[in-house]
């Protein structure tokens, strides 16, 4: 009873409560990183270095007037943000953030909500439902800009779902399973991350996933210079916040899938090499973090809170901590913390891909609609199908699995 019902419900509650908070701060990170790339300061007013800015933004969105345009379809207009955000959050259910179950108050808790044997298929199915939110939102607004944005995004998201699926098929073939946990386990047993044999698949997946989440350079549905704000032009207040939440949740989900399917999920680099076992040591991921934060804070305080010295200080701290950990003064190398280690590596990898998203946004112009379609149908789809065929051929030749 407890393990069947109560714990999963608690897990779901935690996921649904924690992810929006994460997203608030992800958005702050995005603004900070973009500010750094664009030679400006980014939020600094609310709280220390703008740390309370997300709270202020959330309050603003919550208290804003919730407008519904005249002659809009009131029911669908209200439904659309919910339809957008629900699948995005539902996708979190099958994402494992670490490999080992742990016990709380004598009950065994797994670091994932559900380990479906068709996890990948579930993800693809659920994430494609999110399109309905976009289409309904754009259509029900009774605005031409919204409609154009919605049409664009439905065409775009449906087109890019094809290479997205094909890219993951290669991984499923290698792992021999569609369960997210088994995919990671397969990467442990095969000894390398699937990005090595599936480099094409990784490329197709990540490009399609950026397009699927409507982010730069594929942010046509909300191209602000053409369509004002695309499908959510007419939304305000909390309804807008839900679309926003959906977009960023999708970013996290996509980054997690890339991490799990291609970069070994919670596994450390070279998961089988015993020589690198110290990477699972608590010291290795704990000391650098603490020292990085401390040195970054110290340097930032001495030099007036500039970002660059803080980053350099943080990096130095991380290196120092790394050195201490490798030198291993306290004989703690034997103290392995699989759960913390798993969460650490998983978070690190996901953060990198989230950073890549922001990086793209700071670098690229936007594709044009026809060019986007060409890229999808003429390049990515043949490439991803070719990848599946190639993977099958090589597996057949090597006779790895019957």
């Amino acid at each position: 009873m407890m393990e069947q019902i109560v714990i999963p419900i608690l897990q779901v509650l935690i996921a649904v409560a924690v992810v929006p908070l994460l997203i608030l701060y992800l958005q702050l990170v995005e603004r900070k990183v973009l500010g750094f790339m664009q030679a400006r300061l980014a939020p600094r007013r609310v709280g220390w270095h703008g740390l309370l800015q997300p709270v202020a933004d959330a309050l603003k969105l919550l208290t804003k007037e919730d407008t519904i345009p005249a002659r809009a379809d009131r029911f669908l207009f209200t439904l659309a943000p919910i339809v957008a955000v629900a699948p995005a959050l539902a996708a979190l259910a099958v994402i494992p953030i670490a490999g080992t179950p742990f016990t709380v108050f004598g009950y065994e808790v797994k670091p994932w909500i559900s380990d479906l044997n068709i996890g990948v298929v579930y993800l693809l199915a659920v994430s494609s439902l999110g399109i309905y939110g976009t289409i309904l939102g754009g259509w029900s607004s009774n605005s031409k800009y919204s409609l154009l944005g919605a049409l664009r995004s439905s065409a775009q998201m449906i087109s890019y779902e094809v290479p997205l699926g094909f890219a993951l098929i290669g991984v499923m073939m290698l792992a021999g399973s569609a369960s997210m946990v088994r995919i990671v386990e397969a990467q442990r047993s095969s000894g390398w991350w699937f990005v090595v044999p599936q480099i094409l698949g990784f490329f197709c997946y990540f490009v399609s996933a950026v397009a699927e989440t409507n982010r730069v350079p594929f942010d046509l549905p909300e191209a602000e210079s053409e369509l004002v704000a695309g499908f959510h032009t007419e939304y305000s207040g909390m309804k807008f916040a839900l679309f926003f939440l959906a977009e960023y949740t999708n970013m996290i989900v996509v980054s997690s899938i890339v991490t799990i399917a291609f970069f070994g999920g919670w596994l450390r680099p070279f998961p089988n090499a015993e020589a690198l076992a110290w990477l699972e040591n608590g010291w290795v991921f704990f000391t650098p973090l603490v020292l990085a934060a401390f040195l970054g804070w110290l340097v930032g305080k001495r030099l007036g809170g500039n970002l660059m010295p803080m980053l350099i200080g943080g990096a130095l701290g991380a290196l120092l901590g790394f050195g201490i950990a490798v030198a291993d003064p306290g004989g703690l190398a034997s103290m392995r913390l699989p759960l913390l280690s798993g969460i650490f590596w998983f978070t690190l990898k996901v953060s990198f891909f989230l950073f890549a998203y922001i990086w793209f946004r700071g670098t690229y112009p936007r594709y044009r609609y026809d060019q986007l379609m060409q890229l999808g149908w003429k390049r990515l789809i043949p490439l991803s199908i070719g990848n599946v065929l190639l993977t099958g051929l090589v597996m057949l030749l090597l006779d790895r699995r019957a």
């Binding site: 973009l34 790339m37 664009q38 030679a39 400006r40 031409k144 800009y145 154009l148 049409l151 664009r152 730069v216 350079p217 942010d219 046509l220 191209a223 602000e224 210079s225 053409e226 369509l227 004002v228 946004r361 700071g362 670098t363 690229y364 112009p365 936007r366 594709y367 044009r368 609609y369 026809d370 060019q371």
Partner: protein, 365 residues
Amino acid sequence: MFHTEDMEINMGPQHPSTHGVLRLKLQLDGEQIKDMRPVIGYLHRGVEKLCEHRTYAMIEPLTDRLDYVAAISENLGYCGAVETLMGLQIPPRAQYIRVVLAELQRIASHLLWLGTHALDLGAMTVFFYTFRERELILDLFEAFCGARLTYNSMRIGGLLEDVPRGWFDRVRHFLKIFPGRMQEYEDLLTVNRIFLGRTKGVGLLSAKDAIAYGVSGPPLRASGVNYDVRKALPYSSYDQFEFDVPLGSHGDTYDRYLVRMEELRQSCRIIRQALDRMPDGEVRAKVPKYIKPPAGEVYHVVESPRGEQGFYIVSTGGEMPYRVRFRAPSFVNLQALPVMCQGGLVADVVAVIGSIDIVLGDCDR
């Protein structure tokens, strides 16, 4: 039975990328543009009429408000027109300083164009980079005349005052760092595949059409027509400087981008020459206290960052002009917009508007 309706969509006057209060009536078939009509006049202030009730000296601040992105070019053109009408000889130092100011203004204006053009195409970072450098130029202008946007920087007969001490060194400093900064923009755009895809072959304007529509400035030169007022009808001693007039070959958005980027470099070259050969002496000719040009008319053109900026003044010998008429390059260039957008997509419209670099204050007057 089945039929599809074209969608008519109003782009502007409140729209993030129509660069002011331009309104475009678009007829769309899906994403494709079937017809387009620019609607202007939202920023009409009747400046030409106002000028008929101002003395000549009082008109110069009004010219600031025409093309507010390149006010110094307007000042230069207006003062030049009155000076031609009066037959004044401008001291060489004033002419050189005017050239320095005008070319700095061209750089500032092109930087604003580059930033907003890139922003329209979705590349937001370039915008912040160009504004960083534009800020340096605005600081220079502020040091020179106290204003950052509407300068009223010149006087009929020369300048109000000489430049402040150390100003030329600051200009030199800017010229020293600017090429490196330009490299940053180019790294982000010139060879970016997405940027190339968005601009190459988009908004084609043939040389024949360009001439027929009276297009001038960088859009004309990008279509391959070698016409630059600074070379064709030199004013303010532009004939004493060496510079190239960059030309495009296809007349597409990318060529207009390349032409302006090269103009940035050529402007630096002109400023460098002007600083090296800066003459000494007065900065203002002997001008009567009350400016009363003799009866007659004059048409004086300058090359503003947007194109051929003309000033037509009719004087009856009084303190105020009888009629003033501005040839606004933005207005004329805007006429060619429907030609350039023919058969394009919605996304091309913003690219093309960005590439002709209109200022609605100039267009609507």
